[in-house]
Symmetry: C2
Subunit: 316 residues, 2 copies
Amino acid sequence: MSRVAVIGAGAVGCYYGARLAEAGHEVHFLMRRDYDAVRASGLRIESVDGDVHLEHPLVARSSAEIGPVDWVLCALKATAIEEMRGLVAPCVGPSTRILLIMNGLGLEERVAEWFGAARVFGGLAFTCINRGAPGTVQHLDYGPVTIAHLEDDPDEIAAGMALWADAKVKTLAAPSLLAARWAKLAWNIPFNGLTVTAGGVTTDRVLGQPGLRAAAHAVMREVIATGNADLAAHGSAERLDSDAIVTDLIGRTDVMTAYRPSTMIDFVDGLPMEVEAMFGEPLRRAQAIGVDTPYLALITAQMRSLDALATERRGG
Amino acid sequence: MSRVAVIGAGAVGCYYGARLAEAGHEVHFLMRRDYDAVRASGLRIESVDGDVHLEHPLVARSSAEIGPVDWVLCALKATAIEEMRGLVAPCVGPSTRILLIMNGLGLEERVAEWFGAARVFGGLAFTCINRGAPGTVQHLDYGPVTIAHLEDDPDEIAAGMALWADAKVKTLAAPSLLAARWAKLAWNIPFNGLTVTAGGVTTDRVLGQPGLRAAAHAVMREVIATGNADLAAHGSAERLDSDAIVTDLIGRTDVMTAYRPSTMIDFVDGLPMEVEAMFGEPLRRAQAIGVDTPYLALITAQMRSLDALATERRGG
């Protein structure tokens, strides 16, 4: 059994942390807003894969209270990346591994600058998990978590898979973190981007309006083309199959009606959006490599403006 | 002196109608919302070119009260195009001419289907006119009105210019209505489109953010390319000079700080936006001719979604 620290105990962190606790791991949750509620009545997961109720989870108000662990499961918003170093450091010992279940490109590389690349993993969750009342998380739709390692080390990937062996979470091993990140961006960029810039709508509205549907296809192809150029630039032999991915992702999204991507929820709630990790960094790579991405460029510019407006409104 | 009917007595209609009345024409205003206010205290124009106060303007509640005139000055929103026929018809006699001071592409062609092309003119106003209190209009910034004729008939263009000879309105004769419409769209599409889709911002915010500024250039070039292809498709020898127009329009907009385009005002106020005339019809022509316009396509899809959301909110 492993000692695990969950940093960023929002809906995603609580869900996966609870699944690890359920499997017998010693899971410590760093809690801020929900600390008192969870101390009082535990952590409750309502899930399509079966409910969990942790009556007395291990909760801490600071990372120092937790100390070094075997695994840090980091599920912060990408907008909190600069805070992350300080939050994670007290939990990192010589053999600690760090798994980021976060959205966006380049985050693992950032964490590697602080703690070394060998211990850094990426987890890509294709799933729908929302916060409920304090101490409650709703897991609405299933999907496997893809486990990858920043150095694509097969032994480390196996160690990452082993953590989840007894947990009620489907996992897939990805041989290339970079390819896995781009494959996930191929969904996130069109659907998080268009649900926001179309005014704060659900995915079915994007796919139901011909112009937005065509834009979803177009920007998805731009993302895949950029991903393949980025893989080549990194010396990787991995390539994403554009036609197969487009057909798969559009098809899967067609059948999951009225989904609210995380960025769209942030937009509607006036919260910070994960713009730079999800849009800005992919666009910077496209421009650095010289891939023409008009849809990505426009959506990124619009997202930055919308995010700046929300920041002004929160401040005012 | 001419008998003139102003149909669509919003800020633009009131302003230009008042300038014609000031010049001695017999100007009838079709009024709905402001009828009582204008009957009680007249029509007041506050203008950088000199104020006007019409104490007892000729106001009517229906076009039938006005009857046939020499000139119909139509300044409805393009979203009211389907109502326009019924509003204009009672004012049309055998020799009536119709001047549309409206935004968008294809409106004159529509009016020609109802009343014949020979009598249809386009007026393109590069100006900033806002509604004030009922019966009051503020003219904040000057700019000439370009006068064009649907059949590009030089004698008719001269007749259109003659109407304004004694009015305090600068006019320019345009030899090609289609070229003039595209030249105006080259401003309206980037700035009305991007100020809305960037969240409801002023033009200085579009030009001050590098990504949006680049998008303004890109979509402007798409519009001009489509315009030139459309001119060729219509057998016109006119062409728009892309570099010159981009330099001119971006330069002019750089010095007019914090401008709120009409569509952006509609967006912020939750009112119908002129999406089809200003974006939809240009995009349809680009697609029919085969010009690749990713920026225009995405902005149009977003504008349609935002407009549909506003319609739902007004109804709900």
